[in-house]
């Protein structure tokens, strides 16, 4: 087990180097000049431009710039934002709890609804429930996310007035950041209604963000279950006189979990990487929105540093998924 873990961690090294190269070059390939963008509509004198040009080190060869970035990364320094002048690292971890909170709620919704839905659909294969569920999953998967978000906002915030339109909490409440997670902080603050407000702000973005993972998980669970339900050991379980919930929910589901865990892992990776559209639409101050804004500003250090951190997170999630395989199916543990 330990050897496996070390082996896996070693494979991180080439991936990591690859990611630094990609994240470094990605933003530089885009047209646009960060200094011009910073200057805004007023523009700036040529002298000032040249000064900044040198200050940011753009006059040096790309390879040297990359080497600076890379050695910085190895020392835990991701650089400083051109715009806010704050270290990228600090900015990332100030915003990350918001993204994590939202992704966590979304993935919880997707898993708690998606897996049972997939199981029920597989068990009732070809019947009404199965068809209805799989058609809705297809619709959920193919629906443009921004359109779906706007639709929900119009109905639930606009017409019904049940939920707020954007943000993380009502402006009425103010309390210091303790953990960065609004749900926990609002509880800690002890202010009346703060927690409820935080929850109400979370509902719509979570639903929107959960839609695609939910559809993917439900479909994957269904197909994995269908495959497993045809296996001999399911017949054995039924021949023991076990109840259908036990046969399907214990004997079949555990075997069907491997592909499901894979798509859950991929979804978690995607969610953490920043739900760009969802965060933008709901003005959710998370990683996705931060990255998009930084790309518009051509804030090189933020984009390359942010990409790198997100990639690292995805790698860690993948590693956890691989370790989970072994827990679920002992046959995989051996290899």
């Amino acid at each position: 087990m330990l050897r496996y873990l070390i082996g896996r961690l070693l494979t991180f090294i080439p991936t990591f180097i690859g990611v630094t190269i990609i994240s470094f070059s990605f933003i530089r390939v885009l047209p646009g000049d960060p200094i011009i963008v910073m200057a805004g509509e007023r523009g700036m004198t040529e002298e000032r431009y040249n000064e900044l040009y040198q200050q940011f080190g753009f006059d040096r060869p790309l390879v040297v710039q990359f080497w600076d970035f890379f050695t910085g990364v190895l020392q835990g320094d991701l650089g400083t934002s051109y715009v806010t002048k704050r270290p990228v690292f600090d900015e990332f971890f100030a915003l990350f709890p918001a993204t994590l909170e939202l992704s966590f709620c979304a993935i919880v919704i997707a898993i708690t609804l998606g897996i049972p839905a997939g199981v029920i659909a597989a068990v009732n294969r070809g019947k009404f429930f199965d068809r209805a569920l799989m058609s809705s999953a297809l619709i959920g998967y193919s629906m443009p996310i921004f359109w779906w978000a706007l639709l929900l906002i119009i109905i639930f915030s606009g017409n019904l007035g049940w939920t707020p339109v954007s943000g993380r909490i009502d402006l009425l409440y103010y309390f210091p950041d303790v953990t960065g997670f609004m749900l926990i902080d609002s509880l800690l603050s002890g202010q009346d209604g703060a927690f409820v407000s935080a929850v109400r702000h979370l509902i719509l973005p979570s639903i929107v963000l959960a839609t695609i993972p939910l559809a993917v998980i439900a479909r994957q669970t269904r197909s994995a279950m269908l495959e497993v339900l045809g296996e001999d050991y399911i017949r054995t379980a039924r021949a023991k006189g076990l109840t259908p919930p036990r046969v399907n929910g214990v004997h079949a589901l555990r075997n069907a979990m491997i592909p499901v865990i894979t798509v859950i892992g991929l979804s978690v990776g995607m969610l953490l990487a920043g739900a760009i559209l969802t965060e933008t639409i709901f003005s959710w101050p998370g990683i996705g929105k931060w990255m998009v804004d930084s790309i518009y500003r051509r804030d090189y250090p933020v984009v390359q540093g942010g990409l790198l951190l997100v990639a690292l997170l995805v790698m860690v999630v993948n590693l956890i998924v691989d370790l989970l395989y072994g827990l679920i199916n002992p046959k995989i543990r051996k290899r």
Partner: protein, 324 residues
């Protein structure tokens, strides 16, 4: 005492190409302490009739029978819930592929103890004791350790022993073994068969042994029932069947045993069991039968009296003068 009594059991499957009759008017009787063997080629409806009785067929199957009772209880129209109290407890089944019949995600111990918990309501310690006892009973060395093993850590023969232990967990009155040795090495086959017959003798349960191997039949069974294309074509006591088969199909099966072959080439039965689309008129065996004539090809054969092994044939073989 009659343990299992099935009269005129038929099973139809809804398929894309219409109805397919997999079992066609089969009678099965098993008394306590009986070893009944059901023989036939692949596709002759042996397993399907047993699965029908256990309620393990998919919903595409339609089961009809004049009588289907186990231990005096009518199995027809039984709710799924009350059937679950019988199967796995009084009536249990082991299958052809032991390696794939055990769930790869759970330990052997978990899978054995599961039935004990559900049917016998034993507590943790009692379940553990019984599981150890069962593994010991089926000849697995070091049972304590084996309970923690996962199926992939065991050989095919071991797995089949575990399956047997699982089936015997609740002391069933009837054990159905569906080709229990087909997937195993020849040496292991004999061990498993010996184990099954020993256990049957010890416990006095009824045993139904489904097989396509006449050698297995000769070694283990008391009574044999031959099935062909979903029909029972003959039933006899094992020694009599080997001595005087009455249905041409039985006789052809026996002739195909290597130890009985008299020629250089092993005799075979030409053709295959008819499927959904090529069911012949009249006797189902007629296209492959050496003795078939126009009567066989046009009219359904009658069932002969017990002296002629209940053979479903117009012209039973080995018939003494005046009987047929």
């Amino acid at each position: 005492m009659t343990l299992l009594n099935i009269r005129n059991l038929s099973v139809d499957f809804d398929t894309a190409g219409g109805q397919f009759r997999a079992v066609d008017g089969v009678d099965i009787t098993v008394n306590e302490g009986d070893i009944l063997s059901i023989v036939g080629e692949s596709g002759s409806g042996k397993s399907v009739s047993m699965l029908a009785m256990m309620g393990l067929l998919p919903w595409t199957a339609t089961i009809t029978a004049d009588e289907m009772s186990f231990d005096g209880v009518d199995l027809r129209g039984m709710t799924a819930k009350s059937r679950r109290k019988v199967i796995g407890r009084d009536m249990s089944m082991i299958f052809q592929e032991p390696m794939s019949s055990l769930n790869p995600c759970f330990t052997v111990g978990f899978q054995i103890k599961e039935s004990l918990r559900i049917h016998m309501k034993m507590d943790r310690a009692a379940r553990h004791r019984r599981a150890v006892e069962l593994l010991d009973l089926v000849g697995i060395p070091d049972p304590e350790k084996r309970l923690k093993a996962f199926p992939h850590q065991m050989s095919g023969g071991m797995s089949q022993r575990v399956m047997i232990a699982m089936a015997l967990a609740c002391k069933p009155r009837l054990l159905i073994a569906d080709e229990p040795t087909t997937a195993l090495d020849v040496t292991i086959q004999a061990q498993i068969l010996d184990l099954l017959t020993d256990l049957q003798k010890e416990t006095g349960m009824g045993l139904i042994l489904i097989t396509h191997d006449m050698g297995v039949v000769a070694e283990t069974a008391q009574r044999v029932q031959v099935q062909y294309a979903g029909q029972k074509v003959e039933e006899q006591e094992v020694r009599k069947l080997f001595a005087e088969p009455h249905h041409p199909y039985t006789s052809a099966l026996l002739a195909a045993l290597p130890e009985r072959a008299t020629e250089r080439h092993l005799p075979t039965i030409p053709g295959v069991v008819p499927g959904q689309y090529d069911r012949p008129e009249g006797c189902l065996f007629s296209p492959r039968c050496r003795f078939a004539n126009d009567t066989c090809r046009k009219t359904d054969p009658p069932v002969q009296p017990p002296e002629l092994g209940l053979a479903r044939c117009h012209y039973p073989v080995n018939a003494k003068e005046g009987v047929a």
